[in-house]
C-alpha cells in the first residue's frame, strides 16, 4: 500500500462562498498551519495527536475568500527541509491548485522547482504567522506554490496584510496588489552575483546562462555584481536558525499533547525520554546544534546576528545598483528531498536561503532550458516589501514566453 500522502483530508472542503477571490480554488496546507479541529502535528511525534483549537489567521482569511481547504499534506519534521513532503505530489495529481508550504530556507521555492511549478516566498512580516507552528520565527513564512502565477497572486492578496495577533508585523508599508497585473513600463536591471556563478558546475552554468540570455531577450538588462560575503548567508542561517529552533522546540515536553514516553521515574527523566524518542534523525542534531550555540558558544550566535545585519545592509546596497537579483533555484547534485544531514540540507538550499536571512520576497520560475533534465530554475529576489512589483515582473516574463502558461 502506498504511504498516505495526506496528514488530514478534509471530508467537506466546499465552503460555498461564491464571490470570494479564491472561490472554488482547491487549497492544500501543511499540518503545521493551525486549522481548527484538524490534526496539526507539524510532521513530528513531538506533537502527536495535537488538534488545533483555532484557525491560523491565514487559514481564516483563505476560508473567508471561498477557498476549498482540501486538507494537509505530509511534511518534513517541524518544517526543516523537504524530506517526506507530499505537497507538490498532491498538486501534480490535481487534487489541489495551490499549496501553502512553510518556507524557512527555501522549501516552497525548492518544492516548486523540483516539480516544474511556480513558488513564491513573500517578504518577511507581511503574512501573519499567528497559528503557524513555527520553528525559526525570524526567517520562516508561508510560501505559495502552484501552476499559475495568477493563483499565487490571488492567494498572496488574500493572506497578506496587517494582523494584530502577530506583533512582529510592521505597522505600515504593506504592499498593495491593485496594480500587479498592469503591464510594467519601466526598464529593469537584473543583477547576477559573480561570486555565485563561480560556484556553479559546468552544466549548471550552461543552463543558467541560457536562461539569463532569455531574460535579456525579454527586455531585462543583466548586470554582473559582486557580493564577496555571499558565503556568509549559509553559516548565518545555519547558526541563527538552529538556535531559534532549539528555543521553539523547548515547549515540546509530551505532557499535554505529543508522544508520552512510557518510561522515566520523574518529570526530568520523562522529559528527556520524550525528547529522545520523539525527535527524528534530522531535526535532533539541528536542535543539539542550536543548544550548543545557546549554552556553549553564545558569542558565535551574537556574531551571526551581527553578520546577518551586515548581509541585510549589503543586500540593500546591491538593490540600489540593480532592481532585482537573479539566482538559480536548485542544484543538480544536491537533491533537497533526499538530503539526510544538516550539511546536505544546507548544500541543497544554498541559493534559496539568502532571501530568508534578509526577509526579501523571492519568486521561483521554472526554466525552459534546452536540456530539460538540467533544470536549475530561475529565482528572482526583489527588495523587501516589493512583492507586487516582483510578481509583475514574473507575469511579464511568463506572458512573453508562454502566454502565462506553464507546460
Amino acid at each position: 500500500m502506498a504511504p498516505e500522502i495526506f496528514t488530514y483530508k478534509n471530508p467537506s472542503p466546499n465552503l460555498f462562498v461564491t464571490n470570494g477571490l479564491l472561490s472554488g480554488k482547491k487549497v492544500l496546507i501543511q499540518p503545521n498551519m493551525s486549522a481548527r479541529g484538524w490534526l496539526c502535528d507539524a510532521g513530528s511525534k513531538a506533537l502527536k495527536g495535537f488538534v488545533a483549537l483555532e484557525d491560523a489567521t491565514v487559514i481564516m482569511r483563505i476560508k473567508k475568500e471561498g477557498a476549498n481547504l482540501m486538507g494537509s499534506s505530509r511534511m518534513s519534521e517541524l518544517s526543516f527541509g523537504l524530506a517526506g513532503d507530499t505537497a507538490t505530489q498532491i498538486l501534480s495529481s490535481g487534487e489541489a491548485d495551490i499549496a501553502l508550504i512553510t518556507d524557512t530556507m527555501g522549501e516552497a521555492r525548492m518544492a516548486a522547482a523540483d516539480r516544474g511549478m511556480l513558488g513564491f516566498k513573500p517578504s518577511y512580516g507581511i503574512v501573519s504567522r499567528f497559528g503557524l507552528i513555527g520553528l525559526v520565527p525570524s526567517m520562516e513564512c508561508y510560501g505559495i506554490v502552484g501552476k499559475r502565477l495568477e493563483d499565487i497572486i490571488d492567494t498572496l492578496t488574500v493572506i497578506s496584510g496587517k494582523d494584530e495577533t502577530d506583533p512582529s508585523m510592521p505597522d505600515k508599508g504593506f504592499p498593495d496588489y491593485t496594480d500587479v497585473r498592469k503591464p510594467l513600463k519601466t526598464a529593469c536591471t537584473a543583477g547576477v552575483v559573480k561570486d555565485c556563478l563561480d560556484i556553479l558546475q559546468e552544466a549548471e552554468q550552461k543552463t543558467f546562462g541560457i536562461e539569463l540570455k532569455r531574460l535579456e531577450e525579454m527586455g531585462l538588462t543583466i548586470k554582473e555584481v559582486n557580493f564577496s560575503d555571499f558565503d556568509l548567508f549559509r553559516v548565518v542561517h545555519n547558526i541563527i536558525a538552529s538556535v531559534e529552533a532549539s528555543s521553539s522546540a523547548d515547549k515540546y515536553d509530551g505532557v499535554r499533547y505529543g508522544h508520552r514516553s512510557s518510561s522515566g521515574k520523574n518529570w526530568n527523566e520523562m522529559y528527556l525520554n520524550f525528547r529522545g524518542e520523539s525527535f527524528g534523525p534530522l531535526i535532533k542534531p539541528f536542535l543539539f546544534q542550536g543548544a550548543y550555540f545557546q549554552f556553549e558558544n553564545y558569542p558565535a550566535f551574537e556574531n551571526a546576528c551581527r553578520n546577518r545585519h551586515r548581509l541585510v545592509q549589503a543586500m540593500t546596497h546591491l538593490l540600489g545598483q540593480v532592481d532585482l537579483l537573479v539566482f538559480p533555484t536548485r542544484r543538480l547534485d544536491h537533491d533537497a528531498e533526499k538530503a539526510n544531514t544538516i550539511n546536505r540540507i544546507y548544500d541543497a538550499f544554498l541559493w534559496t536561503l539568502p532571501a530568508n536571512v534578509t526577509g526579501q520576497p523571492s519568486l521561483h520560475l521554472p526554466s525552459r532550458a534546452l536540456h530539460s533534465e538540467v533544470d536549475v530554475g530561475i529565482q528572482l529576489v526583489g527588495p523587501r516589501l516589493g512583492d507586487p512589483w516582483l510578481l509583475s515582473i514574473g507575469l511579464k516574463l511568463l506572458s512573453t514566453t508562454q502566454g502565462g502558461r506553464i507546460a
Binding site: R129, P167, R256, W267, Y298, C305
Partner: protein, 479 residues
C-alpha cells in the same frame, strides 16, 4: 576581624494591569486554578505573544517613580531554563535591553541622615506558572496552575549600596510606598506581589572589593527581610572567622525556624533575543504623556505638608506615606479643619482602627466629608472626645449619616446645666467623706469626683461644664 556587609536587592513586583503581559487573560492569579488561561499563556503550538500596552505603561510609570531613565529602545529575550513551572522552556524577560536604567531612592539611615541608594536597572518579565504539590491518597502529585503564568512583573535590581539590614528594610519600604503611589502595583510581601531576593557578601571593614555573594530568597515580610539578612551576616561572619570560604549559592529563609538553609538552585541558561515579541521603541511624546501621569511623590508631598499646613516633620511624613491616606488628609483639611488636628486624629485613632480591622479606607464607609463632620462636631462641643471615638467606629461600618449615628447612640454632649447639676448633687451626697477631704485641702478629690460624674452621665457630659459646676458646688459647701 571586623566585616562590613555589602547588600544588594533584586525585587520582583507584580503589576496590577487588568490583563496578563502577552495575552488578554485576566491578571488574577488567585482565581480558581487554570481559569485564566488561553493558548498564548499555555504556550500551545502556533500561539504568538503580544505585549500588553497597559503593562508597558504601568511598568514605565513604576520606573519613573523610582527616578530611572527610560531607555529609548528595549526588547525581550528568552531566558532559557527547564522546570515544570515553565513548560515553554524559556521565560520572556528583558536581559540585554532593559526598560529603564540608573534610578535611585532616598532613605533615612539609622543615623537620621538621608542616604541615596542607587538602582542599577529595572526590567519587565513574565511570571511563570505555580506548582502545587499534593497527596492523592499515598501518592505525591504535582499540579501546575497557569493562572500566574504570564502575569506582568518588573524586576528592580539595586546597586550593592546597602550596608545593614536596617538600610535594606528602609529601601524596601520606601520603594514600596513610591510604587504604590503610582497605582501600578499593590506591593504586598505577604501576598507575594512584592518578592525580595537579597544578595549578601562581607568584606573587611575599610576595604572596597566585592566578595563572593550569597543569595537569600523567600522573605514574606519586611521584618523577615531584615532578619534574614542579619542571620546571613552572622552566618558568613562565623564562616570567615573559622577560615572557611564563602561559596556562591542560593539560600532559603525559613520564617518559622528563623534561619536560612541552602536550596537546590534552578538550572539557568542563556538569554537569546526573542524574535516574535515587538521591540519597544519609546517616543518622546509617549514618554511625556506617561510622565504627566506621575503623581506627586511622598518626599515632595512631605515637604509641601510642612510648608503649607504647618505640620511637624513627623506628622507630615506620616500623612504622605500612602497616597490614599494623604488624599484623604487633604480633602478633610479643605473643609476648614485644623490640619494638625486632622493629622492627630488620623494618626492616633483612624490608622490604628483600620489596622485592627485589617481594612483600607476604601473598604469602609468613611469619607473625607463624614470625617470632617465628626471633627467639626467635636470642635463645636456637640460631642466629646470619648463619644467621638465611638462615632468614628460607626462611621466606618455603617452608611448612616453622622446625625443619625449621634442621635441613635445618644452621643450628644450633655450641656444642659440642670441635668448636670442633678448628677453632681447626687455624687456629692453619696460621697461625704471625699467632700470632707476636699474641705481639708485635698484638691485631688476633684478629679475623682469628676470621673464619677462623667461615668454617671455615660461619658456624654460636656467636661468643661461639668468641672465648672462641680467646682462651684464644692466651693459653696466649703465654709
Amino acid at each position: 576581624m571586623k566585616y562590613e556587609p555589602v547588600i544588594g536587592l533584586e525585587i520582583h513586583v507584580q503589576l496590577n494591569s487588568a490583563t496578563k503581559m502577552f495575552c488578554d487573560c485576566p491578571n488574577r492569579p488567585g482565581d480558581e486554578p487554570n481559569r485564566n488561561t488561553c493558548p498564548i499563556c499555555l504556550w500551545l503550538p502556533g500561539a504568538l505573544p503580544k505585549l500588553s500596552r497597559e503593562a508597558l505603561q504601568k511598568a514605565t510609570l513604576a520606573c519613573l517613580a523610582l527616578n530611572c531613565t527610560i531607555q529609548q529602545e528595549s526588547g525581550f529575550d528568552q531566558k532559557v531554563y527547564y522546570y515544570p513551572d515553565l513548560p515553554k522552556g524559556f521565560q520572556l524577560s528583558q536581559h540585554h535591553k532593559p526598560l529603564a536604567r540608573n534610578g535611585w531612592v532616598d532613605i533615612v539611615g539609622e543615623d537620621g541622615r538621608s542616604k541615596r541608594l542607587r538602582i542599577h536597572h529595572i526590567h519587565m518579565e513574565e511570571d511563570v506558572a505555580k506548582l502545587v504539590h499534593e497527596m492523592e491518597g499515598k501518592t505525591p502529585i504535582s499540579l501546575v496552575d497557569f493562572n500566574r503564568a504570564g502575569t506582568p512583573l518588573i524586576e528592580i535590581v539595586s546597586e550593592a549600596d546597602m550596608r545593614s539590614p536596617d538600610e535594606a528594610m528602609e529601601y524596601v519600604k520606601t520603594l514600596r510606598n513610591q510604587l504604590r503611589y503610582t497605582g501600578s502595583a499593590e506591593c504586598s510581601l505577604e501576598l507575594g506581589t512584592l518578592r525580595v531576593d537579597a544578595n549578601i557578601s562581607l568584606r573587611p571593614l575599610g576595604t572596597d572589593e566585592f566578595n563572593t555573594k550569597v543569595e537569600v530568597k523567600n522573605m514574606n515580610s519586611i521584618r523577615n527581610v531584615g532578619d534574614a539578612i542579619a542571620y546571613e551576616i552572622t552566618r558568613q561572619t562565623h564562616c570567615l572567622d573559622k577560615g572557611e570560604s564563602i561559596v556562591l549559592h542560593t539560600r532559603l529563609w525559613d520564617p518559622e525556624k528563623r534561619m536560612t538553609s541552602p536550596m537546590r538552585s534552578k538550572f539557568s541558561g542563556p538569554c537569546i533575543p526573542d524574535p516574535s515579541v515587538s521591540r519597544i521603541v519609546v517616543s518622546q511624546e509617549w514618554l511625556k504623556e506617561i510622565q504627566g501621569r506621575l503623581p506627586e511623590m511622598p518626599a515632595q508631598k512631605t515637604e509641601r505638608f510642612l510648608k503649607v499646613y504647618g505640620l511637624t516633620p513627623e506628622e507630615a511624613s506620616n500623612m504622605s506615606l500612602e497616597r490614599d491616606l494623604s488624599d484623604f488628609f487633604e480633602a478633610v483639611v479643605k473643609q476648614d479643619i485644623s490640619p494638625r488636628k486632622v493629622a492627630g486624629w488620623i494618626t492616633t485613632y483612624l490608622i490604628p482602627i483600620l489596622r485592627d480591622r485589617n481594612q483600607t479606607m476604601r473598604e469602609t464607609f468613611l469619607t473625607p466629608d463624614r470625617f470632617s463632620q465628626l471633627l467639626s462636631m467635636l470642635d463645636k462641643d456637640m460631642i466629646n472626645a470619648q463619644s467621638a471615638k465611638e462615632v468614628l467606629l460607626q462611621l466606618l461600618s455603617s452608611d448612616e449619616t453622622i446625625e443619625e449615628i449621634v442621635k441613635k447612640g445618644q452621643f450628644q454632649q450633655v450641656s444642659d446645666t440642670t441635668e448636670l447639676e442633678t448628677v453632681i448633687d447626687r455624687i456629692i451626697s453619696e460621697h461625704p467623706s471625699d467632700v470632707e477631704d476636699f474641705r481639708k485641702g485635698n484638691t485631688k478629690v476633684i478629679g475623682f469626683l469628676m470621673g464619677l460624674a462623667m461615668k454617671a452621665s455615660q461619658g456624654k457630659a460636656n467636661p468643661k461644664l461639668l468641672k465648672e459646676i462641680l467646682t462651684k458646688r464644692l466651693d459653696s459647701i466649703v465654709p
